[in-house]
Amino acid sequence: MGIISRGFRGRPRDDQGRLPPGQYQVHDFPVLSAGPTPRIPLDQWEFAIDTETGRTHRWTWQELMALPQETPTVDIHCVTKWSKFDTSWQGVSLDVLFEDVETEAEYALIYSYGGYTTNLPLEDLLDGKAWIAHRFDGEELEPRHGGPARLVVPHLYFWKSAKWVRGIRLMNEDWPGFWETAGYHNYGDPWREQRYEGD
């Protein structure tokens, strides 16, 4: 245990075990990003999965909308310490997008409009763990929160849930993304408090 801070009591704790170590609950929806919000016209939007053999699967906005939709309600945890419970999204499960994708790759590099990247093992995107989301709380996803569409992979710190998602590159070797090369943890499990490199 750390040094006791004289006179510090903290807030009443009522998170029912839903708050990972070092996090606190918020009720608003803070914004964090490293640069300006990109401007992405929907008629030019596309989402792609690039396999390790060089094959590319593509979806236009209309094609994405025509796929089966899910409405997950999940808790999200940002590495900057805030957590937000019961966030409700609408989007397409990565399981649906990967249905016709043949791959032996173990790693995925997510890339976004605006140049952002983040990496994670492919298995963390599958089996109901991740979505390409385009609605939040019943409304179109605002640009500042990643609209038109963002990845949502709630079991990892939220920087893995890339805003303005453009595609997924599948690879045989792990390739660290934007924050992962800037001192943050390569995997980012909030329950093991993997915030920074070496945690």
């Binding site: 245990m1 006791i4 510090f8 803070p30 300006p36 919000t37 401007r39 605006g114 500042r144 070496g198």
Partner: protein, 220 residues
């Protein structure tokens, strides 16, 4: 591995009625770059801990400026309770993106409220490094009394120009396109979300390269 370190409050000074600068002695501090932040951890007697991130205000030493938030958990303690000689824990430095390294390229800094803190570290790092890179600071804040580092910013610093914008003093000035220079400088923007979004949009409208705009945002 960024490990937790004991940090003893060595000195403190009031920046505004609600903000306080805290100077810590930290054993074996590895040093940091201007713009980086630290995580602070407080522990209650029952073992409960709370962590928050704060920007470093200086290029050398561990100095934080903390705004006491009325509904905050950690900031009111740091601003109102922590006394010189008390110890807390902190770890860092963190963040390898929102940083300035000495270089001759002109720099534009745009601060909203307490967003001045990491930008002040850059201004101070420029001075410490003897850099002649032209710096321009646009500092949007409610009133002159709400400025952090007012005395220091009022003293001449060759190559640094400052444009203050007061949002609660007549003529109430919100930042606009004309307050921002033409494309050319590297840009760092820090402040509350709405402010950063507005400034980033203005910069794009003005033709700035999105790849040269770095942002840091506080809360919702």
């Amino acid at each position: 591995m960024i490990r937790w370190r004991r940090a003893r409050l060595a000195a403190a000074r009031e920046e505004t009625p609600t903000a306080r600068t805290l100077v810590f002695d930290v054993e074996d501090w590895p040093g940091h770059l201007a713009g980086q932040h630290v995580d602070v951890r407080l522990t209650a007697p029952d073992g409960y801990t709370a962590q928050r991130s704060y920007s470093l205000a200086t290029p050398e030493g561990v100095e934080l400026t903390v705004e006491g938030l009325p509904d905050g958990e950690v900031s009111p303690y740091l601003v109102g309770e922590l006394a010189v000689g008390d110890e807390i824990e902190l770890r860092g430095p963190v963040g390898g993106w929102f940083v300035w390294r000495p270089a001759p390229t002109p720099v534009l800094l745009v601060a909203g409220g307490s967003g001045i803190v990491p930008l002040m570290a850059m201004i101070r790092a420029r001075r410490t490094a003897g850099s002649t890179a032209p710096f321009h600071l646009v500092y949007s804040v409610r009133t002159p009394a709400d400025r952090y580092y007012g005395d220091e910013l009022d003293r001449p610093d060759p190559g640094l120009s400052v444009t203050p914008l007061y949002t609660r003093v007549e003529p109430r000035r919100r930042i606009g396109k004309d307050d921002l220079p033409e494309p050319g400088p590297d840009v760092f923007v820090c402040g509350p979300t709405g402010f950063v979004e507005a400034v980033a949009d203005l910069l794009l409208d003005r033709g700035h390269d999105p790849g040269r705009i770095r942002t840091e945002r506080f809360g919702g």
